[in-house]
């Protein structure tokens, strides 16, 4: 009986005192976050955002769903990963020409953080800042929250029609020609490029777009993938099912804080008929692939440690 009364009194007190207190704490925290946003990272991001050329439609959203007002907090998180967590070194970002351009990079790391880091380099290190539009796996569109996050941050489904339209707008488009095979490659194949798709080269020829080769070093070691289990991937409808033992260790679900190094190469220009035979296109693709591979090899030779 007494306990019930005590409980009733407690709940009444809680409703009267604790709830407003909790509300005040939440409000203070929100204010604090807003103030911190304004004084620390926010200012820089807002200043850079103001200089980004975008084509927003009604309600501040571009036709592909990019929404920088929504995305600026994500940019802050990406900035933290870029600067503090992965301590990214960026080389040669000044090689990226103004106007439409295709960035062709190696894909690695099980989770597409490499795309976010290349995007961060284009936003925080390039002058003027640019919003990179990357071509993503269509599977990502079937994932709740991920699909919204990707869309609002300016990522688009990797089909040629989308890339063509973005290039017509004069955007910088990131393509990983290795696709899903590249990002989920097992640890023993790290830094060995898998087969390149040919689509990006046809697109570059058709739209006369310069290609900037990009090499990302450091992503391969963030998650150690022992092997891909194709049968499980097929069953779950995923592009691949990597075996990553570290995910079972508490606290290691986060990627390992390797040091990222991103190298932007000199722009390459290709000319020819976009509808040529695969053999002709393959030769041109091979040139790009060899360039990316040699940039990776040079980067690997230069680095002294995975984490430093």
């Amino acid at each position: 009986m007494r306990t019930t009364q005590a409980l009733a009194r407690w709940s009444r007190d809680a409703a009267r005192d604790a709830l407003p207190l909790a509300q005040r704490i939440v409000a203070t925290a929100a204010q604090g976050a807003e103030a911190a946003w304004r004084t620390f990272i926010g200012q820089q991001i807002e200043a850079r955002l103001a200089r980004v050329p975008v084509h927003p439609g009604p309600g501040g959203v571009d036709p592909f769903g990019l929404d920088l007002e929504w995305g600026k907090y994500v940019l802050a998180a990406v900035a933290f990963l870029h600067r503090k967590y992965f301590r990214t070194e960026v080389h040669g970002v000044e090689h990226v020409p103004a106007g439409r351009v295709l960035l062709i990079a190696n894909h690695s790391g099980q989770v597409p953080i490499d795309a976010a880091m290349i995007g961060a380099s284009m936003f925080f290190d390039a002058e003027p800042p640019r919003i990179l539009r990357s071509m993503v796996e269509k599977w990502s569109q079937t994932l709740p929250f991920v699909s919204v996050l990707f869309t609002r941050m300016g990522q688009v489904v990797g089909v040629p029609e989308n890339a063509r339209r973005l290039l017509e707008f004069g955007e910088a488009v990131l393509v990983f020609p290795e696709g899903a095979k590249g990002i989920s490659k097992p640890f023993r194949q790290r830094y060995q490029l898998t087969e390149f798709g040919l689509g990006f080269m046809r697109l570059a020829l058709e739209t006369e777009t310069p290609i900037v080769p990009v090499a990302v070093i450091g992503a391969e070691e963030q998650y150690v993938n022992l092997a891909n289990v194709g049968a499980v991937a097929k069953k779950l409808g995923m592009p691949s099912f990597p075996v990553i033992p570290q995910l079972l260790v508490p606290g290691l679900q986060l990627p390992l804080p390797t040091k990222y190094r991103i190298y932007f190469g000199e722009p390459m220009r290709f000319y020819g008929d976009p509808d040529d035979d695969d053999a002709v296109i393959e030769e041109k693709v091979w040139v790009v692939k060899a360039t990316v591979q040699s940039m990776i090899n040079r980067g690997l030779k230069e680095r002294r440690g995975i984490f430093t």
Partner: protein
């Protein structure tokens, strides 16, 4: 003039045509004239052109100079109407899409009926045919390009078999376009039409609480019914032929549409949404079949550059105006 007694003629009394007047100017025949869009088109068009409607439903507040034959367009009488009426154009709006009606009835109405209509158009060498298809024939899919061109494959039936007959209608019209160059065939594929119309999109936006799929907020296109009506008028101009995607104002995330309506949004996890909707569908509590959820999950947007350039089409209504037009009709 027609000596042949057309059964509808008696009921279509009120037609101002006297039997001994000069031969009437060629008419625009509208199938499905009694739908919301058909009535709007008739009210707009009857001031410039002679309008003849075929629809078994009643036509309330029919303008006096619009002739209405209350017959089923699949019946042989339709042919008699074409024989007696000098026809300049046929506008086919009479596509049935009621997910509660069986696939057999749908097929008989939409495909077999439309084929008969096409036969009449060919037999009477009618110079113009306008078919209102839909952008739904492309289908919402995760691997869709952001803006689908007219020559994109029609994959809408892959995940939602009930709309296969609508794809067939589109295909029949396409093959008619190639087989009968003497008829200017126009196929319009509008995105979700919103307004007083009673289609799935408008009914969805009329819900008092709008459920969405948690973690999904696809970009969507809507078009105001009057913008579609103006596109139909543009399609009736001589010389226009081909397939045209129709979009309204620039696309926006679904959540913006809900916000513009000022109604609460209820995000529901996909598995729960699908399960609940299937149950409600089986219990006749909803008019939305479960596969339609994909429309609020994946993109199905069109590239309307061809309509803008060739048809001279430009939507007049803004996103807010278009979306709010659904409230002109009370729910449901």
């Amino acid at each position: 003039m027609s000596d042949e007694p057309v059964a509808a003629e008696g009921r279509a009394a009120g037609s101002p045509r006297a039997p001994d007047a000069r031969p009437p100017e060629p008419a625009v025949v509208i199938t499905g004239i009694c739908g919301r869009l058909g009535r709007r088109l008739a009210r707009r068009l009857h001031r410039e052109r002679r309008v003849v409607g075929i629809d078994r439903r009643p036509f309330p507040d029919r303008p006096k100079d619009v002739v209405h034959y209350p017959v089923d367009f699949r019946r042989k009488k339709t042919r008699d109407i074409f024989r007696s009426e000098n026809t300049a154009a046929v506008v086919h709006l009479g596509v049935m899409h009621d997910p509660r009606v069986s696939a057999t009835v749908h097929h008989d109405w939409n495909v077999a009926g439309f084929q008969k209509l096409l036969d009449s158009v060919a037999a009477f060498r009618i110079p113009k045919l306008v078919v209102l298809s839909s952008a739904n024939v492309y289908g919402p899919r995760p691997d869709n390009p952001q803006f689908l061109p007219e020559d994109w494959p029609l994959l809408g039936g892959a995940s939602f078999s009930e709309i296969r007959d609508l794809i067939e209608v589109d295909m029949l019209a396409q093959s008619f376009f190639w087989k009968h160059p003497e008829t200017e065939t126009v196929i319009l594929r509008p995105v979700h039409i919103v307004g007083t119309v009673k289609n799935a999109a408008s009914n969805y936006l009329r819900l008092p609480v709008i459920p969405t799929v948690m973690g999904f907020d696809p970009m969507v296109q809507v078009v105001h019914e009057d913008d579609v009506m103006r596109a139909l008028l543009l399609a009736l101009r001589p010389g226009v032929r081909g397939i045209f995607n129709l979009a309204g104002p620039p696309p926006a995330p679904l959540s913006r549409l809900v916000k513009a309506l000022g109604r609460p949004q209820l995000p529901v996890p996909h598995a729960l949404f699908q399960g609940a909707l299937k149950q409600m569908w089986n219990m006749h509590l909803t008019s939305f079949p479960a596969p339609e959820i994909d429309h609020i999950r994946y993109v199905c947007m069109v590239d309307d550059r061809r309509a803008r350039e060739v048809l001279g089409y430009a939507p007049l209504y803004s996103l807010e105006e278009s979306v709010r037009a659904v409230d002109e009709e009370r729910w449901p």
